[in-house]
Symmetry: C2
Subunit: 268 residues, 2 copies
């Protein structure tokens, strides 16, 4: 069985970060995550429920079954969803490579920020497809860390980002998977595959994005692997910290920060 090692860890700061990210990106990524009334949706890899709360509240007429490998994340997700009085989600512990469902039971399925962490995303997609009805939509959302660029440019910041890319690779994942969604979804036999880029462009005329994305989502994520990055000798502590400082620099008055997510879908 494939292992799943989650590069960002399971700390409570990380769970705040994931919710900050989801709130900021709600409009960019999920404005068009709309399912037909009465449909049964599988969310494979729900984590702490950051995407779940957006999709479930945006689709009150659908029922969600949200699964994750981590019991701790599921408990947190459940707490979050209950605190928001969202009633159309059921949580269940499950391995994405071996889902505890019969064939063709779900109307649609969605996988958000999960494939990047798997060492066999094709296998996982096949398993999600197995439980999807014929004619159902499979939606996948992923980022791509190779898409990040910014002003002022900084080789230290670029190197710090590369540390996360390398660490994720060592754990069997792929932080640059966004650009590959199109061939990935095609490779499992989905039809009418379509991928759309979702850009986050932050400058000081958009303070909510500078705060919510540049600082609290992206830079916080890179900061989150600091110990591992200089602990493993990938980068010196001094250079890594310079990289983080340079990323925060892009959040200032004259800075800009750009990142791209990809949302893809195909029909079984």
């Amino acid at each position: 069985m494939e292992s799943t090692k989650y590069v960002h860890g399971y700390t409570s700061r990380e769970s705040i970060r994931l919710n900050d990210q989801a709130n900021t990106l709600e409009e960019i990524i999920h404005h068009d995550t709309i399912f037909p009334k009465g449909s049964l949706i599988l969310e494979a890899g729900c984590g702490v429920g950051a995407q779940t709360k957006i999709m479930a509240s945006g689709n009150p007429g659908s029922k969600f079954i949200s699964v994750d490998i981590s019991e701790d994340s599921l408990m947190e997700a459940e707490k979050l969803i209950r605190s928001l009085n969202i009633t159309n989600v059921e949580f269940e512990q499950a391995d994405i490579y071996k889902l505890p469902f019969k064939d063709e039971v779900f109307d649609d399925a969605i996988v958000c920020f999960v494939l990047e962490h798997l060492n066999n995303p094709v296998h996982a997609l096949h398993e999600v497809m197995r439980v999807l009805k014929k004619g159902g939509n499979l939606i996948a959302v992923e980022g791509d860390h190779g898409s990040a660029f910014f002003h002022p440019d900084s080789e230290f910041a670029t190197a710090a980002i590369q540390c996360l890319v390398q660490l994720q690779k060592q754990k069997g994942g792929n932080a640059n998977i966004g650009r590959e969604l199109y061939p990935l979804l095609n490779s499992v036999g989905l039809e009418n595959v379509s991928v759309s880029p979702r850009v986050v462009y932050a400058d000081s005329s958009k303070p909510h994005l500078v705060e919510g994305f540049t600082r609290n989502t992206f830079t916080a994520m890179i900061e989150g692997v600091a110990q591992e990055a200089f602990g493993s000798g990938m980068m010196s502590k001094k250079d890594f910290e310079q990289g983080i400082q340079d990323l925060y620099r892009t959040a200032e008055e004259d800075g800009t920060f750009i990142y791209m997510f990809f949302k893809g879908s195909g029909i079984k």
Copy 2:
């Protein structure tokens, strides 16, 4: 006086490339280039008229004065515009650093793919602002070669792109200027500056973009500096050619190519 050295050269293949580019990008970049009826518009740096034809035909109620430093480009632009029976454009040879117009005569002004080639874009923007009426819009459109990423990834392709970035830098330009539009437009005192990213995302479900952008715009542009790149020893001929081959590889069935333009505007 600042010099302007145009990194892409003035060959006829280049002029075909610029028109291919403009046709493909018309919708992405110019769907919202709309000027009020009766307005007088300055297009500073019109080149061979690739943007001129789109803007002038899209705004038949406006009059355009399109200027360029190169007499040859202007002749070609004029030929193109006449061949299309577009009658609302006047061409004039002019230096963007010293425009032959009185203060505050234009209602709006637009500068497309020009700032990247200048060694003093701030000076040029000040000069364009001088001839712009108070309350008029200044629009700038630029690419950013640091925004390019693709699947399959290739260090040779990345290095070949960097050759163009370096060559443009040696000529006083900045191929990565797109990310800087926001601070640039602010730095000359424009108000309500707003920048929007314009993504080109090409995969094989979008054959017109694969052909028109990945192959005929971007890869052709990098190929265009081949002699200079390996002539100057930046990269070996073999490695550069591998880079070009890898860029064409991204245009195949399972490849993807992503690039970002930026369109910014501010009010005088």
